[in-house]
Every structure is written in C-alpha cells, then in structure tokens.
C-alpha cells in the first residue's frame, strides 16, 4: 500500500485558514490502513479544525466525506454535485488522490492533508516500512524476494558496499543491510549461487529517471 503520515495540525491550519467553507475528503484505501486519511482521521481533523476556528471566533463550515478511492474517476464523481458549496477541499488521500481530485475539479483548490511517504508494509500497528520504489523492472526473482532498490540505501545490484557492518547499514545502526538480508535468504533457499551471477547495469529509464510514467493496456482499454 501507499504509506502516508498526517501533516502537523499547525501546517493544516495555516493552509486552510482562508477557506471558510471546507470539505475534508478522506480515502478508504491505503491511507485508511496506515491510519492517516480514512474516515476516522477525517472526523478527528474536522472536529479539531472546527474547534480551532470556533475558538478564534471565526465562522467556518467544515464537512466530511470519505470516498472509496480518490485515484479512480468514478469515485471522484460522487462529490461533483456538492463541490461548488466549498471554497476548498482538504484531501487526506495520498499525493495521487490529491492530484487526481485537482485535475477533476479545476476551479476548486485541493490541498494535501497528509505527507505521502512510500509504498510499504505494516510491520505492526503503528510501524510501516518501505518495500517497493516502483522501478518498473522487478528483480525480486534473482534477489531472494528482497529488493535491492528499496532496501539498500545505495540501490546496489551486486552485493553490499563497505558500509555494511554486522548486518546493518552504515546510514543507520537499526537499519538492516538489504544485501545482508538477500544473502541470508539466498542461503536459506539453498540458492547462494544466484549471488555469484553478475547483474547487468539496470535500465533506470523505467524508473523516475525516464520522467513521469504511463502504463497502457490495449487489451483491457475501453
């Protein structure tokens, strides 16, 4: 899933202070799971903002809606009839949702309520870690299912660097060395021979280096 974290409320207040009629728009997908922008977080933020502005003696109207997703047009259409009632939308979806909302409703300012962080997993409740950087050319088959792009700080492809010490990365003593994890798992799988194979230079044009990306599937395209 896409992992996001809540923006500090002071930052949100500063963003929305000039919009007396505000819609807080949550998303039922990834940001709900990482407890940053689901229905509950929408309700909490709306209540906090209402109280803040009431305390300031300002008249504000803050409404709450949570869509199934903000990265699909059909769900964004659900607010078309009501969007003109608001001066701005504070979207608690990831950066994808915020942008798609902004593209769909050109005349309404759409503001981000969360900081989008990475594609990752829930290690335990309250702890999320990165697993994929969407490089566009998956190598997990050759690296024991552990990604050298997202788990190695230097994104190395042929083993650890000199900064790997006792299985930890030099950038942080609690961070596992991605390549140590790969070697450990290759050993468990009895496939350490894979480690000896030299990886060719990666084509980074499928990653961000190639500019904004696009996937087109003619077979399913409508």
């Amino acid at each position: 899933m896409i992992v996001a974290k809540k923006k500090p409320i002071e930052e949100i207040i500063d963003m929305v202070k000039d919009y007396p009629k505000l819609l807080i728009l949550g998303c039922n997908e990834c940001v709900t799971v990482c407890e940053a922008g689901g229905k509950k977080e929408v309700a909490v933020l709306a209540s906090a903002l209402r109280m803040y502005f009431m305390n300031q003696g300002k008249d504000v109207k803050i409404d709450e809606v949570t869509l199934e997703r903000q990265c699909d047009r059909e769900y964004l259409e659900e607010v078309r009839k009501t969007i003109d009632r608001y001066d701005a939308v504070l979207s608690l979806a990831c950066g994808v949702g915020v942008q798609f909302m902004a593209e769909t409703y050109m005349r309404t300012p759409v503001l981000p309520g969360v900081d989008t962080c990475f594609m990752g997993v829930t290690e335990e409740r309250g702890v999320w870690t990165e697993r994929c950087q969407g490089c566009g050319q998956c190598v997990l088959a050759w690296t024991a299912g552990i990604c050298p792009v997202s788990r190695c700080a230097k994104r190395l492809f042929n083993g650890p660097c000199g900064g790997s010490t006792k299985g930890k990365c030099e950038i942080h003593k609690e961070l596992d060395c991605g390549w140590q994890l790969i070697i450990n798992r290759l050993t468990e799988l009895g496939r350490l021979d894979d480690y000896e194979k030299l990886m060719p230079i990666k084509d980074w044009s499928t990653e961000r280096a190639g500019g904004p990306r696009k996937v087109v599937r003619e077979d399913v395209r409508s």
Binding site: I13, K40, A43, V44, S47, A48, L49, M51, Y52, N55
Partner: protein, 117 residues
C-alpha cells in the same frame, strides 16, 4: 457507601474504556464540555486485555490535539482504579472538578459568548 461526588460530573457508562475513541473525546469538547475524565480499570486488569491501555493512548492523542488548537490538553485526563474503590473515584472526581474550575470554562464557549455580545 452512598458517597457524594461533585454534581458537575456527568457519568457516561461504557463496557470498557477501550470503547472510547479519539473522536468521542474531541466531540465532547466540540459540544462544550469543560473537561473529560476517562476512568478505566487498573492497568494489567483489563477484561479485554488492552482496552484501558488503548484508552490511555487515545487520551494522550486528544491531549496533544487539544493543546495545539488552544483548548488545553490538561482538560482531558485518564485515571485507573478498580471497581471497588469508590472513595478513590470520589477523589478523582473532586480532583478533576477542581482542575477544570481552575482552568475555567471551555474556551469555545467563551469565544461564542464574546461573539454573541
């Protein structure tokens, strides 16, 4: 025992403090409560294992938010006691009431009054 506690305290019964969500605490203040006191079982004695521990975290979240928006984080507190400690409950109710009296009414109500005047 028939002990008396301050009449300003309104009791809301819940099966477990684990039922208290952050939004319940915030809504109480939005509707004008001057203070909220969450009274749960002793830590380690929750029938549902972690209900009171979860409640404590939510109270801490509420305190942080209320502090940042100018309502005052100390207006919401968590206490733990066992169900047989009626005198302790009275002590908590009095302590909380005293604290809220010294803090004054919910600033939202003051702001609304000022605006109406």
């Amino acid at each position: 025992m028939r002990l008396q506690y301050p009449s300003a305290v309104r009791i809301i019964l819940l099966p477990c403090t684990g039922k208290v969500d952050l939004i319940h605490l915030l809504r109480a203040f939005e509707k004008g409560a001057d203070g909220v006191c969450v009274v749960g079982c002793m830590e380690g004695a929750c029938q549902f294992n972690s209900g009171n521990l979860r409640a404590r975290k939510r109270v801490m979240q509420a305190q942080e938010i209320l502090e940042k928006i100018g309502i005052g984080g100390e207006r919401v507190q968590m206490y733990n006691l066992s169900s047989s400690e009626a005198p302790r409950f009275v002590q908590i109710a009095e302590e909380m009431t005293g604290k809220i009296l010294s803090l004054g009414p919910n600033p939202i109500k003051r702001a609304a009054k000022k605006k109406a005047a």
